[in-house]
C-alpha cells in the first residue's frame, strides 16, 4: 500500500503531541490538484491532505462532469470518478505517503462510485455517513443511503485483504453546519461509528463541528469521547474537530480569530485532527495559498494552547446518551435502527428540509451565546430540555445564523 494507514498516522502525531491539520481542497485538473496537495505537504506543519470531490460527482451526475470537463467549465472539486485511476495515481505519486496521508472528502449519500475510484487510485481514507451525508445534503431516502453506505463500508473493508487499513470519518458532528444542538451531533457521530463498525471498518474518526460557545463545545467533545469509549472500545478511533461550519466572519481578522479558537478547542479537548476554514470562507472557494495560510495559523494556535481544564456539565452527555440508547433499542441492526429513528423523530435535525426528517425540532442561540433547543419534537429527551425562545421569524433565524459572524467581525 502507499502511505500507511490514515488512522495510524494520526495516532502517531497525537502520541508526539501534534495536532494534525487538514484543509478542504479540490480542483478539477490533475496538475492543479497535485500542486495543491504538494503545497499542503510542504506547508511546514503536521498536515493531512484532502481531495475534495466536485458536487456534480457528489450527486451522481457524471454526465454533467464530463460535459464540464469537455467544455473547460468551472468545477468546484476534483472529479475523482471521471479521472482514470492512473491519472489520480499520478496526482498522488511522491506526494501521498507515510508522512502525508490523503483523504477524499465528497458529501455523497450514495458514494459507492467515489469509494471504488479512491480505492482504485491507492487511497483508503474517506468520510461521510448514512445520515450525515443524507439528511442535510441529498434527496436520497434514508433507507437507500443506509444501503449505499453499507456497500461502501464493505468496499472499503475489503481493501484490508490487500494489506491496507481503510479509515472512515463520520461527518455526524456537522449536521447542517450550524444550529444543531451538540447532543444530537455527538449522538449521530457515535451512531455512525457503530454503523461503520458493523460493516467491517475498524479504524474511524468521529467528528464535532465548533459551534457558538467554547465551553459548550468542550463539554460536547468530552461527551463524544465518553460515549465512543463505551461503544467503540474494540476499534481504533480518534476525534476530528471542524472549524465553524456556519455563516463565517467576513473580515480576515474575524475569520482568523475563529480559526484560532477552533485550534485551541481541539487542543483543550484532545481532538487529534482539525479541519480548517480559511479567511476566504465567507466569500468564495479558497485558493491553495489561503488554505496553506489557514493550516499554518491553526498549527501555531494549537502549539500555544493548553490541554485539559474544567468542563461544566450542562447535560450534553446525558442528552447524547439518551439519544444513542433510544436509537440502539429500536433494532439490533444499526442501519435499521437509524431508519426507524428518523421515521419516529428520535433523530430529528432542526431546519433540515429532507423529506424523511420529521422537522419538529428547532434550535436557537440564546442570550449567552449557547446553542439551545426551543422545540424537541419527538426526541427521546425530557420536555424541559427545550427552553423558551423568541418568535420564529426570518429575522430571528438570521440572528441565530449570524451570531458567530457578528461576534467575530465586531
Amino acid at each position: 500500500m502507499t502511505g500507511g494507514s490514515f488512522g495510524d498516522i494520526v495516532a502517531r502525531a497525537a502520541a508526539a503531541g501534534e495536532l494534525v491539520v487538514q484543509p478542504r481542497m479540490g480542483v478539477a485538473g490533475p496538475a492543479a490538484m497535485r500542486a495543491g496537495l504538494t503545497a499542503v505537504r510542504e506547508a511546514g506543519v503536521r498536515a493531512a491532505g484532502t481531495i475534495t470531490v466536485d458536487s456534480f460527482t457528489r450527486v451522481g451526475d457524471h454526465l454533467a462532469v464530463r460535459r464540464a470537463l469537455a467544455a473547460g467549465a468551472e468545477l468546484n472539486g476534483y472529479p475523482i470518478a471521471a479521472h482514470s485511476p492512473e491519472t489520480t495515481r499520478s496526482v498522488l505519486d511522491g506526494v501521498h505517503g507515510p508522512e502525508f496521508p490523503v483523504q477524499v472528502r465528497h458529501g455523497s449519500a450514495c458514494p459507492q462510485k467515489i469509494v471504488a475510484a479512491l480505492l482504485a487510485a491507492g487511497l483508503h481514507a474517506t468520510e461521510g455517513g448514512p445520515l450525515s451525508y443524507c439528511l442535510p445534503y441529498s434527496r436520497v431516502p434514508v433507507a437507500e443511503s443506509v444501503r449505499a453506505w453499507a456497500e461502501s463500508c464493505l468496499l472499503l473493508s475489503d481493501a484490508r485483504e490487500r494489506g491496507a487499513r481503510p479509515h472512515l470519518e463520520s461527518f455526524g458532528g456537522c449536521m447542517m453546519g450550524q444550529l444543531c444542538p451538540p447532543s444530537l451531533l455527538v449522538a449521530i457521530s457515535v451512531l455512525e461509528g457503530l454503523f461503520f463498525r458493523q460493516h467491517g471498518i475498524d479504524s474511524m474518526s468521529l467528528s464535532y463541528a465548533q459551534q457558538t460557545d467554547p465551553d459548550q463545545d468542550a463539554e460536547a467533545v468530552a461527551a463524544l469521547r465518553t460515549l465512543a469509549a463505551e461503544h467503540l472500545s474494540d476499534v481504533d478511533w480518534h476525534v476530528v474537530l471542524y472549524t465553524y461550519m456556519g455563516v463565517f466572519p467576513r473580515t480576515p481578522r474575524g475569520a482568523t480569530a475563529l480559526l484560532e479558537r477552533s485550534a485551541e478547542l481541539a487542543v483543550r479537548t484532545g481532538a487529534e485532527r482539525l479541519i480548517v476554514k480559511t479567511t476566504a470562507e465567507a466569500h468564495r472557494i479558497p485558493t491553495v495559498a489561503e488554505n496553506v495560510a489557514a493550516l499554518v495559523t491553526a498549527s501555531a494556535a494549537a502549539a500555544h494552547a493548553a490541554p485539559g481544564g474544567p468542563v461544566d456539565d450542562t447535560g450534553v452527555l446525558a442528552e447524547a446518551r439518551a439519544l444513542v440508547d433510544a436509537v440502539l433499542d429500536l433494532a439490533p441492526d444499526v442501519g435499521i435502527a437509524l431508519v426507524r429513528a428518523v421515521e419516529r423523530g428520535y433523530l430529528d435535525v432542526p431546519f433540515c428540509l429532507h423529506q424523511d426528517n420529521a422537522g419538529r425540532t428547532r434550535a436557537f442561540v440564546d442570550g449567552d451565546g449557547r446553542l439551545q433547543w426551543s422545540r424537541t419534537g419527538a426526541l427521546p429527551l425530557p420536555a424541559d430540555r427545550a427552553v423558551p425562545a423568541a418568535d420564529f421569524t426570518a429575522d430571528e433565524l438570521l440572528r441565530s445564523l449570524t451570531h458567530v459572524e457578528r461576534a467575530f467581525d465586531r
Binding site: 450527486v59 464540464a68 468551472e74 458529501g107 441529498s138 434527496r139 447542517m176 431546519f351 433540515c352
Partner: protein
C-alpha cells in the same frame, strides 16, 4: 418542517423556492421561505439538490406565480443556465429569478448571461435580499419588470 410565520390575505402569491441540482445548501432556502411567508405569500420549498426534471415537472404542475432559485455552491451559474430552457418550456411567462453565489470565484457579473438565457431577475450583490423583496412586492402589486 413547520414554518408558522404570520400570513396576510391580500396579494398572496404562490411561490416555488428551490435549490439547484448540484447544490446541497439549504439555509438560504429556509431563510427565503420565511422571508416570503412573512410577506404574506405561500411557499412550496423543494429543498436542496433538486434535479432539473423534478424542478420542471413540479413547477409545471403547480403553475406558481413566481419561481425562486437559489444557489451558493459555485455551480449555480452552470446549473441555472442549463435548467432555464426546460423551465421556460413549461412556464413560458411565469417570472423565474435566481440568486446567491453563482460562481466559484465570488466575482459576480453573471447577471447579463443569465438574463439573456431567460431569467427575469438575478440577485447576487450585497443588497440582494433588499432588491429581491422589492421585486416580489412589485410582482404582488401586479407590476412585471
Amino acid at each position: 418542517m413547520e414554518l408558522d410565520a404570520a400570513r396576510q390575505d391580500t396579494a398572496r402569491l404562490d411561490i416555488v423556492v428551490s435549490g439547484l441540482a448540484s447544490d446541497a445548501h439549504t439555509w438560504n432556502l429556509v431563510y427565503l421561505q420565511l422571508v416570503l411567508e412573512e410577506m404574506g405569500h405561500r411557499v412550496t420549498n423543494l429543498g436542496a439538490c433538486v434535479p432539473d426534471g423534478l424542478l420542471t415537472s413540479t413547477c409545471g404542475q403547480a403553475a406558481p406565480d413566481l419561481v425562486v432559485l437559489s444557489s451558493v455552491n459555485g455551480h449555480g451559474f452552470q446549473d441555472a443556465r442549463r435548467v432555464i430552457g426546460p423551465l421556460r418550456a413549461r412556464l413560458a411567462s411565469t417570472p423565474v429569478v435566481v440568486g446567491g453565489k453563482l460562481g466559484v470565484d465570488g466575482a459576480g457579473g453573471r447577471a447579463a448571461a443569465l438574463l439573456a438565457a431567460g431569467f427575469d431577475a438575478v440577485f447576487e450583490d450585497a443588497d440582494a435580499i433588499t432588491s429581491f423583496r422589492r421585486y416580489v412586492d412589485r410582482l404582488a402589486a401586479g407590476v412585471r419588470s
